[in-house]
């Protein structure tokens, strides 16, 4: 346990050192936030602003836009491919021999990284949104605290999904195609581009049941009071259990393949 805490702490500090990049990133997230929020404002204007659309008021949707821009880096929505690169360079063979659990090793590091990104990228981006647009505050302190918990769980769900996508490197030679598709799926099914409620019916029902929702949509729903707290957190918890089991099974299969091929 000490080892994993230490790994998380190091990843946290390492992420904090790139300050110039953080400033540039906040600027970029800010510009995109302003753009996307403007598009939604224009859509709501066509509708007569006060009314909710599919249960989403204008201000709720704008708040979602800014939460999304703020969480983008924290949950590494578009993926990270270090494990794939390790698999394809062959470095994984020696890494697997090391006296720690491979999955937990990366999870700890990712958690440290996520915390740093939440502080240096997420919070400032959200502040920009709060200054430039009318953003809703959480209804209660309980909701606010649950939101933070939900973000932490979102990081774990996102990590499991990313980890499994990385393991595709055992079977596929070039990960760039996978990376592009992963980003596309995440964009739509997590609720990054728009609340899932706006999707047409069969797609919406499917998207609401899938784990991608737990990465972006659930923290939003918890923050905005769209779902009871226990339901949101329960949904994430359920997927965390399923995904950790699946990721480990997939990892075991990949490792067997490695052994068969002799690395």
């Amino acid at each position: 346990m000490r080892l994993y805490l230490e790994l998380a702490r190091r990843a946290f500090q390492q992420t904090l050192t790139y300050r110039g990049a953080a400033l540039a990133g906040i600027f970029t997230n800010g510009i995109f936030g302003i753009m996307i929020a403007s598009v939604f404002l224009a859509f709501y204007q066509s509708h007569g602003s006060g009314d909710a659309v599919q249960g989403w008021t204008r201000d709720q949707t704008i708040t979602l836009v800014w939460i999304n821009q703020s969480l983008l880096m924290t949950v590494y929505l578009w993926g990270w491919w270090e494990v794939t690169r390790n698999i394809q360079s062959g470095a994984i063979v020696t890494e697997l021999l090391k006296p720690y659990d491979y999955f937990t090793y990366w999870l700890s590091r990712d958690f440290g990284r996520a915390l740093a990104h939440f502080l240096v990228r997420g919070v400032p981006t959200f502040l920009i949104g709060a200054i430039v647009f009318d953003i809703l505050a959480p209804e209660s302190w309980l909701r606010a605290a649950s939101f933070l918990l939900s973000v932490a769980m979102a990081v774990i769900v996102s990590f499991c999904l990313r980890f499994m996508a990385n393991l595709a490197g055992f079977w596929v030679l070039d990960y760039r195609g996978i990376a592009a598709m992963f980003a596309a799926i995440m964009n739509v099914l997590s609720g990054m581009l728009a609340p899932l409620a706006f999707l047409p019916d069969p797609l919406r029902i499917v998207a609401n049941a899938l784990p991608f929702r737990a990465v972006i949509m659930t923290p939003n729903e918890v923050y905005l009071g769209q779902v009871p707290i226990w339901e949101g957190l329960g949904f994430q918890m359920l997927w965390i259990v399923i995904l950790i089991v699946s990721a480990r099974l997939l990892m075991a299969t990949g490792e067997r393949r490695l052994v068969v091929q002799g690395g």
Partner: protein
């Protein structure tokens, strides 16, 4: 002396080294103000190189060798000073100059990693607009002299360092430049490869009269190739002249090796003033002396009283020692 083909006057390059700032606020401040210090990499350097000469440009790491070469090739714009290379101001007339110089950076290749050597050379032919017949002739010659044939069709990333260097040399010479700049051309190569490169360069200079300016850490390159060396330290030229003159200047310390008939007992003996025992292995004794205090015959006759001398030799100072001493002297001068 003929008209110099390379000439530098008061060449100076200063860099602005920005200080790192701490913290988020520091990063933000770093964007606006420009705190830092000015570093002079090359300081008032002047020299002339006549056509057809091979000049070694040496100095310790960070002395300003590469910075000078980069100004002579037009990569860097000097802070002040004038340069003329084959009649061009390098950074003003890069395109024209490029046709007249060949450049080899030992640590980097100018070939395309993903293409076979032959295709890289073919592309350079178009870039330098070498007529087809000249190209074929030059390629054949290079293939012969540098023995490129075995790996001409191999992608560059698969070549060994020595092969790649030969390929780079061929690439730098395709357009028959009258000037060749070499930055560490033998770095990382094994002895056989080094010798091969040296022989090739000597032959190139002899047969085609190509002017060569080379920087190196390997003083064997210098001894084999260069009559003249320019030594730079802390951005300033500390020596410019014939290698032999440099040796003469710093060769006040000499060594006399004497083979005695029997093992002389020198441990307790008082040696003549101006000499010192360097080491002793049985009957063989090495005496160090200062040329300005004692002449060799003097030392020889004075040592005669310790026994019959059967054989003797005087050692020239090694070039490494000479250069070491030169750096030490320049360090004392700056201190």
């Amino acid at each position: 002396m003929t008209e110099p083909i390379i000439s530098a006057r008061g060449l100076t390059k200063t860099f602005w080294r920005r200080s790192q700032r701490k913290g988020m606020l520091g990063a933000m401040r770093g964007l606006v103000d420009r705190g830092g210090t000015e570093v002079t990499a090359v300081d008032d350097v002047s020299f002339d190189i006549p056509a057809g000469e091979i000049v070694g440009y040496i100095g310790p790491n960070g002395a300003g060798k590469s910075t000078t070469i980069k100004m002579l090739t037009g990569i860097l714009v000097p802070s002040s000073g004038e340069v003329s290379v084959a009649g061009h101001t390098p950074w003003e007339e890069r395109r024209q100059l490029a046709q007249k110089i060949g450049v080899v950076f030992g640590q980097r290749t100018q070939l395309w990693w993903d293409l076979p050597l032959s295709e890289s050379l073919e592309l350079l032919r178009f870039m330098y607009k070498v007529p087809e017949r000249r190209f074929k002739h030059n390629l054949a010659e290079a293939t012969d002299l540098l023995d490129l044939a075995p790996f001409l069709e191999t992608p560059v990333r698969q070549l060994s360092l020595g092969q790649r260097m030969r390929g780079d040399l061929a690439a730098a010479l395709l357009h028959e430049p009258p000037i060749l700049y070499l930055d560490e051309p033998t770095i990382g190569l094994d002895l056989v490869a080094k010798t091969r490169i040296r022989e090739f360069l000597a032959e190139l200079n002899r047969s085609s009269g190509v002017t060569i300016l080379l920087t190196t850490h390997d003083l064997a390159d210098i001894e084999r190739l260069c009559k003249r060396i320019v030594v730079i330290d802390h951005g300033r030229i500390v020596h410019d002249g014939e290698l032999e003159r440099l040796k003469a200047r710093f060769s006040s310390k000499r060594q006399l090796t004497l083979d005695f008939d029997v093992v002389p007992d020198l441990a307790s003996a008082v040696l003549p003033t101006g000499t010192a025992l360097f080491d002793q292995e049985g009957p063989r004794v090495r005496i160090a002396f200062d040329r300005h205090e004692r002449s060799a015959p003097e030392v020889l006759s004075l040592m005669g009283r310790f026994g019959t001398i059967r054989d003797m030799s005087i050692d020239e100072p090694a070039i490494e020692d000479v250069i070491q001493e030169l750096y030490a002297e320049s360090a004392r001068a700056t201190a």
